[in-house]
Subunit: 365 residues, 2 copies
């Protein structure tokens, strides 16, 4: 089979030229006589790979000095525990903004490690929007305010960057789970205390977790925080206290370089805006498909939608697959369909989806 | 450069045919039109990959029913915390046998989670041997006895399988860190309560951690154990509570199949015995090189040695590299040299090393 259009929510499509390069270099990286998988993480070859990956990421996100970049393991779900274990060492409570499945999971996990205050929630309305910051009720002295800037399952994305100074709480660090929208849009890192994300959407293969953390938030781990997940230890050892997931970091580095060749984050954001507009405009005008998210908070990355006749779901998926459009089934907690259109999905893929959607609706709608 | 002889302690050499297959399948796995890196972990393609990997591993190690196989993240160093967090939930103390750097690190980490008793230690003699089991002093009611069956840094390997029934304590589960010798020799899994290992020596790429755990040891996690690392949660979700390191698991599966093609663990053990004998016999008879480990406990996987004249170390490493023999520098805590000769190192590589060693000694010794 030739390559397909892969709309998986993650692990997800990667740039084809990244995959080609990885295949080409598999047995012999840059004349070293070794695969990247076979290299000691302490050898000069791999050190050059991880250092270039970090430098490229810093350039892409314009990460200011005063922030450390950590390559960790366990994905965003492990970070749901690792973050409170690191940040609640000297504080009692943390505040959470709940906008969907992922932030709900995060706040539940945090309760193991301290007091959790729900600063704002859109759960009453089914998590189809992001509560305006003016209404966030912070606790008196939270260690941080937790946000999930893009809810992969619900398809809800923050249309603003949380800036707590606007509500007079600029002293409180914002933690952001950006697993599914990091590197897809320009952000101002200085607004956050900590940004994290599993790699398997916009960064690279599953198995590496990216953490960007401000210096002053490092060094406060709780006594029972595993050493391997103590930000102080990870930072001081340049992400090599334990053996890092070397190959996943290498592929992430290839993705960063690909992104630079695309023109960087601003350029990819413009394409992401165009891709999302193409799909949402079609859905809205179709008279057959429906996206139920607050239009102001629709995700550019994950587009859940429903058919006008849900009895056609299985037929839809079978025909889509036959047309080379894969992994369109919605998350079981939401139902319907979901198209994830991350950085590596070209507009041609979105156009192919729209063409299929139009044809299907014309025949069955 | 052509492929080299890579003696890295880990990440380490992989079978060349595994790397070739991974490269060939990079853009399109089995006609799916996707790279394994791009597949949803919940799709039928990846499910078939992880199920086959587990089935092959069970066959290779003859894992009895009543044991679960978990694919986790964080490496052996994270397990140093994860294991006590899971096994000390209902007990107060655990016993540790210290035979080198890795078991020492493990017992230090465990102290965060409970009382640690040193059942036996070879530290007084510089960790060059394994204390005979008859001398192990277990505490009254330990949750487990921790062992590291091969010390990668010191080059010390258990010449016996711990069988606590022999000292009248068959009720106590043995935990074994087999990171650097798993799948290199036939073991009797039923003697252990839990076996674990980072993948980056004999299994596959760094980033996946293998845990084989007896059913009765699952379900006792401490309250502050991160959900992602709770054996109950990981087992009930078939290692997919969080997104698993899919590509690393895929490559591990290719290594398992390669190992089956080699004839399985007994066949590879015979080769490992031959490789180790070739190298140790040469070192012992050389009159120039020296291995300082108790001959009964010499590792078949990691062979540390010293030159007769340590002033020649840099020259030795430079000439070895020029001859295509890489990563021979000893761990900084030990000094000298170290040749790691895992499953994927063919005897031709060991012979090339011996030839070089002989030639170097003849010229410089």
């Amino acid at each position: 089979m030739s390559r397909v259009w892969n709309f998986s929510a993650g692990p997800a499509v990667l740039p084809e030229e990244v995959l080609r390069q990885a295949a080409d270099e598999m047995l012999d990286w840059h004349g070293s006589g070794m695969s990247v998988m076979e290299m000691s993480h302490r050898g000069k070859e791999f050190i050059s790979i991880i250092e270039e990956a970090e430098a490229d990421l810093r350039e892409l996100l314009a990460i200011p000095s005063g922030y450390r970049v950590l390559f960790m393991q366990g994905g965003a779900i492990a970070e749901n525990a690792i973050i409170p274990m690191n940040l609640l060492g000297t504080r009692r409570a943390a505040d959470y903004v709940v906008t969907g499945s992922w932030s709900a999971k995060s706040e539940k996990e945090a309760r193991k490690y301290g007091e959790v205050n729900i600063a704002a929630s859109s759960q009453a309305g089914g998590c189809t929007t992001v509560p305006a910051m003016a209404g966030w009720k912070l606790s008196p002295d939270p260690a941080y305010v937790f946000t999930c800037t893009n809810e992969t399952i619900g398809g809800v994305e923050y249309p603003f960057e949380p800036d707590l100074a606007q509500i007079g709480r600029g002293d409180v660090p914002v933690v952001a789970d950006m697993s599914s929208n990091i590197l897809s849009r320009v952000i101002d890192v200085s607004r956050y205390g900590l940004i994290f994300g599993g790699a398997q959407k916009n960064i690279g293969p599953a198995g590496v977790t990216l953490v960007v953390v401000r210096d002053d938030l490092i060094g406060h781990a709780m006594p029972h925080c595993p050493t391997a997940f103590d930000f102080r230890i990870v930072a001081d050892n340049h992400s090599m206290y334990n053996t890092p997931p070397t190959y996943a970091i290498y592929v992430a580095g290839l993705v960063f370089r690909w992104l630079k060749r695309q023109g960087g984050v601003a350029a990819i954001e413009a394409r992401n805006v165009a891709k999302a507009k193409l799909l949402y405009d079609f859905l809205d005008g179709s008279g057959f498909y429906e996206n139920r998210v607050d239009p102001a908070c629709r995700s550019r990355m994950n587009v859940p939608f429903f058919l006008g006749d849900e009895a056609l779901n299985d037929t839809f998926l079978a025909e889509a697959k036959a047309a080379g459009l894969l992994q369109l089934k919605g998350h079981k907690s939401v139902g319907g369909m979901r198209a994830s259109i991350y950085n590596a999905m070209p507009i041609e893929g979105v156009q192919a989806l729209v063409d299929f959607l139009r044809d299907f609706a014309a025949r069955k709608g």
